[in-house]
């Protein structure tokens, strides 16, 4: 029998992991001579206390939904895609090319083209590691790591030598034309009469990210492909018995994963900076891993975890602004969440299982 109820596995374990991460982070804050409680207050007021704060929180959350879903889809096929970072960079390249070189009449058309290009470029960048895994046996984790570095070099080259406008100094593309600018939450909510901060970068991509959560849920739990994907992820030998092609599953799973990671670019590149800069992804690919682990690889969990990390990110930026706590604190929290939910899972799980076992025997006895 299962050692503990499903809700404990889905809710309790991530929660405890999060609390552990929070406790350790508080100790770190204490150690550098700051007040953790004041820090949390500042984070909450900065990230959730105003529509401006929410605008940033949701902007970051949009990024993390895409990269979190990317990791989750691959995880269901038992593939660990560490390459979200590079795939999102390439997605940004796709968006930039489409926005710069196609004269779009209206943003609504531009976003379709840009999303397609972003997904295509991201998927292409995930395709090679996927192919090498199924056909050449090279581990997808290692190759996707390498592809992150290669993506950076490629982007660096293109931005410095090709896409940089004449006389510009920093490695970045030209501004995208006006017609490709996406409506922000301010614009959208304004049409229904809700006041929202004008400066916050959250934009229409948020709705696409939420739609992506639904689409991924339906894909994984309602389609034949999702069935095969999960079966392959649970047992490769059984999948082979059932005639499920490892080649097909690995390739398609990684293409979808890379495509989702790439689609993040419609938010950060098209929606926010409106040009392509070198460090546009800012580690969101890696945060996707934390989001997916925290969200138990379920799209709804990913949605919640993405908002949580959006809050942490915006809150962390506020901290860096008003205190001596650097932004890197958020990286520490994120690393701790990954550590506790992904690697030290059993440390949390074993004592919990013992408690539930004791409770059960008491009930029966």
């Amino acid at each position: 029998m299962d050692k503990m109820p499903k809700w404990a596995d889905v809710v309790l374990i991530p929660l405890i992991s999060l609390i552990l991460a929070a406790v350790i982070s508080s100790l770190v804050i204490l150690a550098i001579g700051e007040d953790p409680i004041a820090a949390v207050k500042l984070m909450v007021s900065g990230a959730l206390g105003s529509s401006n704060g929410w605008g940033y929180t949701l902007y970051y959350a949009t990024n993390f939904m895409f990269t979190g879903l990317a990791v989750a889809v691959a995880f269901h096929a038992s593939l660990f895609n560490i390459g979200g970072e590079g795939q999102a960079m390439l997605g940004g390249l796709g968006v930039a090319l489409v926005c710069l070189f196609i004269p779009w009449p209206h943003w609504s058309l531009a976003i379709v083209g840009a999303a397609g290009a972003a997904a295509l470029f991201g998927a292409a960048w995930a395709m090679i590691p996927a192919y090498l895994q199924v056909r050449r046996g090279s581990h997808v984790v290692i190759t996707t790591i390498m592809f992150n570095f290669i993506a950076f070099s490629l982007l660096n080259y293109l931005l410095v030598n090709q896409l940089r406008p004449p006389r510009a100094m920093d490695p970045a593309s030209a501004k995208f034309p006006e017609a490709t600018h996406l409506p922000s939450l301010h614009d959208i909510l304004g049409t229904v009469g809700i006041e929202f901060s004008k400066h916050a970068p959250a934009n229409v991509s948020l709705l696409i990210a939420v739609a992506a959560c639904f689409a991924v849920w339906a894909l994984i739990w309602r389609t034949r492909f999702g069935f095969e994907l999960r079966a392959f992820g649970k047992s490769e030998s059984a999948a082979r018995y059932a005639g499920i092609s490892p080649f097909k599953i690995t390739m398609v799973a990684m293409l979808i994963s890379g495509g989702l990671a790439g689609m993040m670019a419609i938010n950060n590149v098209m929606g926010e900076s409106e040009r392509l800069v070198l460090n546009a992804v800012e580690g969101a690919g890696f945060i996707g891993i934390a989001v997916s682990l925290m969200g138990r690889n379920h799209p709804f969990g990913v949605f919640l975890a993405a908002i949580l990390f959006g809050f942490l990110y915006q809150g962390g930026a506020e901290l860096a602004l008003w205190t001596d706590i650097p932004r890197e604190l958020i990286i520490v929290i994120q690393a701790l969440v990954i550590m506790f939910t992904g690697a030290l899972d059993n440390m949390v799980r074993m004592p919990l299982e013992r408690i539930f076992l004791a409770l059960n025997t008491k009930k029966e006895g």
Binding site: R230, S237, A238
Partner: protein
Amino acid sequence: MTSTPALELKGISKAFGPVQANKDISISVQPGTIHGIIGENGAGKSTLMSILYGFYKADAGEIFIKGQKTAIPDSQAAISAGIGMVFQHFKLVENFTVLENIILGAEDGGLLRPSLAKARKELKHLAEEYELNVDPDALIENLSVGHQQRVEILKALYRQAEILILDEPTGVLTPAEADQLFRILDRLREEGKTIILITHKLREIMDTTDTVSVMRRGEMTATVKTAETSPEQLAELMVGRKVLLQVEKAPAQPGATILEVKNLSVTDDKGVQRLKDVSLNIRAGEILGIAGVAGNGQSELMEILGGMISGTGAVTLNGEPLDLTGRFSDGRSRRARGVAHVPEDRQSEGLIMDFHAWENVAFGYHHDEKYQKNALFMDNNALREDTQRKMDKFDVRPPLPWLAAKNFSGGNQQKIVVAREIERNPDLLLVGQPTRGVDIGAIEFIHKQIIELRDQGKAILLVSVELDEIMSLSDRIAVMFDGKIMGERMPEDTNAQELGLLMAGVAGNGGAA
């Protein structure tokens, strides 16, 4: 006659959560004897031996070695107490030499060279004393299974084991290799070693042991002198009631040829030829049983017919050729052609252990029209209803479609697989080890289902390492050895001895082919 027992267990108990694996077990083994422990899978034999080897700590009970009360908290303690263990799955490092494997954990000092030299000398000595010849410099991966087992025995002897425990030692051996093993064991007994033989094969117990203990559901039901018992009595003690080894069935009424296999060959990734020019046929309403020691090509035969691997030759199903290259076929396309497949290993192939029962009922057939809601989505409700129906019909307990496969007992897991495959109404059913790790009640049920399918005029290919099962179910028996069919026999015209010879690679005269 009773000297101090070499080994004595008193009141050993061990529970895993709510499961009582060993309940108040006591035995006493005299030095210089072979003591058998017999019981079905899951009777608690392996748990008992793991306790003796320090893998588990008993909840209660005491162990005495040569009359001395001994605590065995870990394997190191077991080794120093003179206990040597030959596991069912060998614990050897495949890319090490024999010598390196033997000294591992028993080295003298920090440097290898002196240890290796000493072991080489000692090995020569042991080889002479017990007729245990193995090339000390051979890599394990290049040795036959029988020789690998010898290395395990040598490992124990090198550590000066006085008590040698062998866990299902003949499962992977040919009859000839098994006979050799028993000669070695006799030899060890003559030299005063004490041997504990764990097995579920009655013949081995009757042939080799001095005394035998029977285990059932974690309890020791009896300990008797082998000379004073009979296989029937032991079998009854094992299962708790008379066993019906004979399956009731009407004579076969074979119809048209369903499956025709000609010159089928399979070579694996390592370049080893696993199937060599196999030819056979099965007609409608007929069960062809494949007898053989595990690892002689039966698995590959099942897998290539099931579309899992590729090979060469010609196979027709209902007169139409089957693709063997793997380019145009896989498990799914085979199913579409009417081939159902109960795989040999239900846990790693037949089921997804983490999936719900209802997902497992669709597994492999998830493209079937009746499970689809529309072009995009599956109809999970239809699937669950279908599962409920199958569970009721096949008496799967508990009949809960939402339960994960891993939470069913072995027998009920197998019923789920069999229900899925048989209910699809296939033309050809491939069945591998249908009753491995399945309780007696479920065995009878599954056997009945297979025969019923035959009586509906389907062709059935049965692979089993249980000779009894082959002999009682099959309408025709083909014996495989080293990737070849050694011969075909009718069950009524043959006996276990003759089949055993064929399984050992001793060619019969002609056969039905």
